[in-house]
Symmetry: C2
């Protein structure tokens, strides 16, 4: 299997009671999924778990074993409910230690902001052997250990950290997509979709209905790593939709 055909996968663990209580609308799943796609890495599964040690450890161990990469968001701040570092260290069977570079970063960042204290120093704690991921936004770095990446819970801080990682992870061919929109109830052309999906190897068609301007329609998203197959599949679907007397809108509605 060459690098071109191998599919690289990632999993994500979203850690935080605030997501499970409904208080906070998660934005990291979509953000990290999109970023991974550009790196040629497919997000295969996500788990949302509470701020509970055993729940995090179980998820870390299951997901890191069966994916090339594992990302976590949340729980790396200064307060008592931030236990991600401890949980990942326990899952990996390593100690927690103060990373000297992280300590230095935090000393500098807080020099004009009241100085380091016990809570702030918590943000320099890493699983032993970890490297840092730069955070230009708020001092406290992200953490990489092996194939596990610990990112912030706050989406714009995670965005910065992802930015720093761009182009550094090995991936495969990026998953490309083509969207075709049509003012048609998806249930009317289900057979066409199924037939087209089966006809093109390595293409998956997703159907996403909507109700807008008093009418029903749907966007059909074709995904493939192979540009030629993607284009052929899109052309076939457009032809099939137009054969029903409807307009097919490349790019979606």
């Amino acid at each position: 299997m060459t690098n071109e055909t191998r599919i690289w996968t990632a999993a994500l663990i979203v850690i935080g009671d605030e997501i499970l209580s409904g208080r906070t609308q998660d934005k990291n799943i979509a953000q990290i999924a999109t970023w991974l796609g550009v790196q040629g890495i497919r997000l295969r599964e996500v788990r949302v778990v509470p701020d509970v040690m055993d729940a995090i450890v179980e998820a870390v161990n299951t997901l890191r074993a069966r994916n090339d990469y594992l990302f976590t968001t949340g729980g790396i701040g200064p307060t008592h409910d931030d236990i991600t570092v401890d949980a990942v260290a326990q899952a990996l069977g390593v100690d927690v230690e103060i990373h000297p570079d992280a300590r230095k970063v935090l000393e500098d960042y807080y020099a004009t902001r009241g100085g380091l204290n016990e809570g702030r120093l918590r943000m320099a704690r890493v699983p032993a052997g970890a490297n840092l991921i730069e955070n230009r936004m708020s001092g406290a770095p992200g953490i990489r250990i092996g194939n596990v990446f610990l990112m912030a819970g706050v989406p714009h801080i995670t965005a910065q950290m992802l930015d720093g990682l761009t182009g550094t992870l090995e991936g495969g061919l990026p998953l490309q997509s083509a969207t075709i929109g049509c003012w048609v109830p998806e249930s009317e052309i289900a057979e066409l979709l199924s037939k087209t999906d089966r006809a093109f190897d390595g293409c998956q068609i997703g159907s996403y209905p909507f109700f807008r301007e008093g009418r029903v329609g749907a966007n059909f998203v074709i995904r493939s790593t192979d540009t030629a197959q993607l284009e052929a599949c899109a052309a076939a679907l457009i032809a099939g939709l137009e054969a029903t007397g409807r307009e097919a809108v490349a790019g979606g509605i």
Copy 2:
């Protein structure tokens, strides 16, 4: 253990390639989490899985066994990528059958919309033994089988289905919350938060920092099923924050 102290839990499986590709921002996690909280049921874990049979079956069997309720969203429409009914049936070891009431609902709904066809009839398929959950929005019903609830992927259709289920599921005391805001870096008062969290049994304090109007602040959310403990914990945290010379804003900032 009485009903009042027993904690009722639920899990959620979000099914769909469109969430894992980043194309669609999930809204069902927050919506279902909030609704469950009102029913006195705690959302304990969420998994996002692709439209792949084995991935759905694995998640269904793991999560239904260790929670009182399991919800799924997505994959119950008319197209080839809608495989949730088949996956849940496989997980439960039952056949898939046409539910006569669902067929009737769909016949009526599509009577003036071109009639039933093969794709539309797919939406009457249920795991054998299932009951329907009403969908006043678009005909195709949700499905309940045992402790598993299959909801739509489109958030406003799921909202309708939840509405129909309101008050029908046994739960415990609802988890209440109190929010206290303060213009303080959370890292400055981490010790106060930790001490207060430990001092009040059954209360968990979450810390949610923000950056707004050029200043950093945080909202502290206390959660408990016990009103008296919640109020006492909130009073202690407010007193602790005000002892640092800052204003503590009940209700959050």
